[in-house]
Symmetry: C2
Subunit: 113 residues, 2 copies
DNA sequence: TCGTTATATAGCATGAAGCTTATATAATGA
DNA sequence: TCATTATATAAGCTTCATGCTATATAACGA
């Protein structure tokens, strides 16, 4: 259910949706709960929830006429993973640069093709 | 220099910009380097870089007529932080729920002091 | 100074996102 | 079955992001 990274980030790029997620960290909430909490209409909330659901960030269950939402705790793992990978690559290249600079007698300026 | 979270996420929401960041993890690159790497025009790359810079995700230096970009390693810390906080709150509430369910004789709806 | 290279900006077209109101669907309860 | 409540969808509007081409600016080298 984890969406591609750009889609996940797009879902996170809206302040209202971030607030919704922050709220959901405290536990389930229905569409109307959320609509009461934010200064936008109920249809607007429904759309935000759809975006969040399609990004895999929330899940919903059916309780009579209600459809309470809750966070999907795993959805943010790819984000963590991407950041970690980015930092890993970055440090790898810092390390290489350091190694290069640590051998000053050999200024190996590889002639850029 | 760290932008508000929604702005950061918005900057990360574009596939081309994500690719640019991935590339920059390996080291500096100029606008033209990047323009050659992706199937979009140089002006389009310039705009993407502007977005990334305004989000604090990259920094630039001046080298003659070039303006090489590099990652700002600190920019993603708030993202990590937000995720951690979200998970913290979530687990806190799981714990409270567990505690509640573990004491069935005492349905202590403690009004939080 | 002049031509070249590197980057930025302007102007425009297009498509997507977000909002609203109005309405449809679905489950509940009398 | 009918009214009510909860949520979803439709239609329309506005704003914004992205891409392009054309052009401006800036630094360099001769």
């Amino acid at each position: 259910m984890t969406a591609p990274l750009p889609a996940t980030f797009a879902a996170l790029a809206d302040p209202t949706r971030l607030s919704i997620l922050n709220r959901l960290a405290q536990g389930e909430a229905t569409v109307n709960d959320l609509a009461a909490l934010f200064p936008i209409s109920q249809p607007a909330v429904s759309r935000h929830l759809k975006v969040l659901e399609e990004a895999g960030l929330i899940e919903r269950r059916i309780d009579g006429t209600r459809r309470p939402c809750r966070l999907n705790p795993q959805a943010l793992a790819p984000v963590r993973g991407w950041i970690s990978e980015l930092e890993r690559v970055m440090e790898m290249n810092f390390a290489r640069l350091d190694a290069l600079l640590a051998t000053p007698e050999r200024t190996d300026n590889a002639p850029d093709t």
